[in-house]
């Protein structure tokens, strides 16, 4: 196949000294789906921002269609037929699908072309939809459509702008398995029509399924380009991490004991005051992992906040070891032996400007051990921090460094060190491996399973269905604030089956769910 794009020896040094790219080479063939994989911080996003004109490289050159190019901004890139679908959607929620698609390039009509031609916008959109099979309703408001449909709108927008090379940045992060399948079908249609796609991801299963070739980045360098048909997951992950990694979670069968947490008919409001958690009931026993699957925003956040005391409960009960948690303060709940790994470590789980030591002692600084008279016991804090840094393999030179100077995986290790070292009877782990590199994911999964085997009851919430399925002993599925199914995690259980519950297509009978 003809070479469409070549990026040669790209370097990017940010003004603060971060070397995001240090010699990346990438060759894209016309009409292929090229997967760009690598851990977080490997430089994938930076490379694509350079290609799309959002960042200027420090060194290196880009050859596109045989011509050396340099983009001053995304406008130039769009003019040349390059489009990018960002991880976070850039749509106007109050406008319709069609209006979003033609935004910035609206068809005009009437006197002096002063007026927007709404009909033409809709017909143009419909034409695109028919051509590529990306099903959305052109006249629906964007705020009313699903996440999967929003993504289609993003892709249609890029196509409308005339892109021939489309960059997709982690497109499946927010999709259910069914939506992912549909996305892949559309991508195949696009490629058949001669479009070229760069697909950024860190999910190896998807790489194997959809891509033609794969370029792996590690620590800002391209470490290899593979042909998908001739490689396997193990080889890719070895290239990504630089060593062999265990892709499967090794765990024995759970030996559940007494009930630790029992939630009964819990109702919780969201920030806007409407119902986010609707009459949810479930139980977790000591020594088992109960995983909650579901598309994000279906009440998981509110459920966790209610259990941990961060959010008021409207009605229902939360029994923890025969005590009611409803109405108790965060501090009281913490003192009862509940560990909580929050979903957002940047804002909840860690204080980025405070030191590693200061982050680690959050659950302990009140205890006698950590005090000398009116002062905090600096020696004890230092010793405890160093012990944690060692035990949880936090990569840093000193406990006095701000947490914000660590990588995402290491920040999460600080959170996990703090919450696991208190030996909780109930551990709540919300998105424990989000944005964390493969090496750290392996470590975090092992630690969670270890706690389970020690008799901790674990409540796991994750948007990654594969994570829920590989860790959990039982799985509850949340849809629209309700627990639509509670299923034992057996060999026969498939992602597709859970996916149907996640989308609200199927639900268990209420009696069976309790």
């Amino acid at each position: 196949m003809a070479v469409l794009l070549e990026m040669k020896d790209i370097h990017k040094v940010y003004p603060n000294g971060t070397k995001a790219n240090q010699g990346v080479n990438l060759i894209i063939h016309e009409g292929e789906i090229h997967a760009l994989v690598g851990e977080n911080g490997a430089g994938k996003s930076t490379l694509m921002k350079i290609l799309f004109g959002l960042e200027a490289p420090t060194a290196g050159e880009i050859i596109y269609k045989g011509e050396k190019i340099w983009f001053q901004g995304p406008k130039d890139a769009i003019k040349k037929g390059i489009g990018m679908v960002h991880q976070h959607f850039m749509l106007v929620p109050s406008l319709t699908v069609a209006e979003n698609i033609v935004l910035g390039d609206e068809p005009r009509s009437g006197l002096f072309n002063l007026f927007r031609d709404r009909k033409k916008a809709i017909s143009d959109t419909q034409k695109l939809i028919d051509e590529f099979g990306l099903k959305v309703e052109p006249e629906a408001k964007v705020e009313t459509i699903s996440v999967g449909q929003k993504q289609r709108v993003e892709i249609l927008k890029v196509l409308h702008h005339g892109a021939r090379l489309i960059i997709l940045d982690e497109p499946t992060a927010v999709l259910t398995p069914q939506e992912t399948d549909e996305l892949f079908d559309s991508l195949k249609v696009l490629v058949k029509q001669g479009y070229t796609i760069i697909f950024i991801t860190h999910k190896l299963r998807e790489v194997m399924e959809i891509s033609d070739r794969i370029t792996v980045l590690r620590a800002g360098k391209s470490v290899g380009t593979l042909i998908t048909k001739e490689t396997n997951k193990e080889e890719i992950s070895r290239l990504m991490v630089g060593r062999d990694v265990l892709l499967r979670v090794d765990k024995a069968k759970a030996k559940p004991k007494e009930t630790v947490l029992a939630v009964e008919n819990l109702v919780v409001n969201n920030n806007k005051g409407s119902t986010a958690v609707n009459k949810i009931s479930f139980q977790i026993r000591a020594g088992e992992i109960f995983g909650i699957a579901g598309v994000e925003g279906n009440g998981q956040t509110e459920l966790i906040e209610a259990i941990t005391g961060l959010r008021k409960v409207r009605s229902g009960r939360i029994q923890y070891l025969n005590q009611d948690l409803v109405g108790k303060s965060v501090l009281e709940i913490r003192k009862m032996g509940i560990g909580h790994i929050p979903e957002d470590r940047q804002s909840r789980g860690a204080c980025l400007t405070a030191s590693i030591a200061e982050n680690l002692i959050l659950d302990r600084y009140r205890t006698k051990e950590f005090r000398t008279g009116p002062l905090l016991n600096a020696k004890q804090i230092r010793e405890f921090s160093r012990q944690m840094i060692k035990a949880f393999d936090i990569r840093t030179e000193s406990e006095d460094f701000p947490v914000g100077s660590l990588s995402g995986g290491n920040i999460q290790k600080v959170v996990i060190a703090r919450e696991l070292s208190k030996n909780p009877k109930l551990l709540i782990a919300s998105q424990p491996t989000r944005g964390v590199d493969i090496g750290a994911i392996e470590f975090i999964h092992r630690e969670i399973v270890k706690k389970r085997d020690e008799g901790t009851a674990v409540l796991l919430v994750s948007a990654e269905l594969s994570e829920v399925m590989s860790l959990s002993d039982r799985i509850g599925v949340m849809y629209n604030g309700e627990m639509v199914a509670i299923i034992d995690n057996t060999e026969e259980l498939t992602e597709q089956e859970i996916g149907q519950y996640m989308l609200g297509v199927k639900r268990q009978e209420r009696e069976a769910a309790i």
């Binding site: 003004p15 965060v330 909840r348 204080c351 959050l362 002062l375």
Partner: protein
């Protein structure tokens, strides 16, 4: 990324901002003055050229240390209180009342009692915007600015109508304080009262509080990341109220030390914006208690230099105000400079490569 190196970088940035501000001041002197060298010398050297001037620098630095500390503490807690001025008046009033109307106490009891009352007054007055913010989500900038008027005008009213010394004539003040309440000089040669030591001690105590105690840890966490503090079980509302109260207590002592150290009586309108200067001091010191001492000294130095310059040359003291304002602009603009540098850097690269 190391704390120490970033601290040094901060220091370097602030020092260069100070130097640039003074240099711009020099340029203005060159433009307006017939005797520029004389003016520059007066501004820079005269404040330390004799004991009287130097002692005056220390006297001027004392209240600035207190208000600088007061604002550093609330800013650390993420509360943007502008209320030091009002708290200073209320604290000064409480303390001055004890200093003036309770006779017959030995100084060793009288002075601590005065300080405690001043702290109490400031803290209680600080509690009002603190509670309003924590429990009713009232914007603290608005509430503290308004309460400043309430405090200064109430104290003024009381001085003019209730506690006025009949001998004070047109210029309202309380009667002179008891002799046992007076903060004396500590060195014959210097005109400085010993309030400077109380100020330095306060800075050290606040440093220890912020960095070495449980309360300080909680206060800093609430300021740096309230969500994290809440998640850790810290009562953020309580911490917010407490921070404004500590701030008020510090401002209150700052006010009364002026009364018992410098003026000898509570005078109407005795603080000309000490509480607002404190904002600049806290900004210069990056809210660090020990840095506050240095910043207050620098600021006082500039003020005394401006006075001597006015006396000894044809440049008026308003120039010093210009330098102060430039300083604030430059220090607060540092972040903007860093951003601009990045942008220019990026653009140059892009163009060079495009050709």
């Amino acid at each position: 990324m190391k704390r120490k190196s970033s601290f040094l970088l901060d220091l370097l940035g602030i020092a260069s901002a100070a130097i640039v501000a003074v240099l711009i001041g020099f340029i203005i002197i060159l433009l307006v003055s017939d005797q520029p060298l004389q003016a520059m010398k007066s501004l820079l050297v005269d404040p330390i050229s004799n004991a009287f001037n130097f002692g005056t620098v220390l006297n001027k630095a004392t209240p600035l240390i207190f208000t600088g500390l007061a604002l550093s503490v609330v800013f650390r807690a993420g509360v943007f209180s502008m209320g030091a001025e009002g708290q200073l008046y209320v604290g000064a009033f409480f303390g001055a009342w004890v200093a003036t109307f309770i006779p017959g106490l030995p100084a060793a009891i009288h002075i601590p009692l005065i300080l405690i009352f001043a702290m109490l007054g400031g803290a209680l007055y600080g509690a009002i915007p603190g509670l309003l913010k924590a429990y009713y989500n009232a914007n603290e900038i608005v509430s503290t600015l308004m309460l400043n008027f309430v405090a200064t005008l109430s104290v003024s009213y009381l001085l003019n109508n209730v506690f006025k010394d009949p001998a004070s004539g047109g210029y309202a003040r309380m009667p002179y304080i008891q002799p046992s309440a007076k903060l004396g000089k500590f060195m014959e040669a210097l005109p400085t009262h010993s309030g400077i030591f109380i100020a330095i001690a306060a800075a050290v105590i606040i440093y220890l509080f912020l960095y070495k105690t449980k309360g300080g840890y909680e206060l800093r966490l609430v300021g740096e990341n309230p969500l994290f503090a809440e998640y850790g079980g810290i009562n953020t509302k309580k911490v917010i109220v407490l921070s404004v109260m500590i701030s008020g207590a510090l401002a209150g002592i700052g006010g009364v030390v002026e009364v018992i150290g410098l003026h000898g009586a509570l005078k109407d309108q005795f603080s000309v914006g000490l509480g607002f200067d404190g904002i600049i001091i806290a900004l210069l010191a990056r809210n660090h208690p020990i840095g506050v001492i240095a910043a207050a000294f620098f600021y006082a130095y500039l003020q005394v230099g401006a006075q001597t310059m006015q006396m000894n040359s044809d440049v008026s003291r308003e120039l010093a105000v210009i330098i102060q304002v430039l300083l604030v602009l430059l220090v607060s603009a540092q972040a903007i400079f860093a951003y601009l540098k990045q942008r220019v850097h990026r653009r140059k690269r892009g163009e060079a490569n495009a050709l």
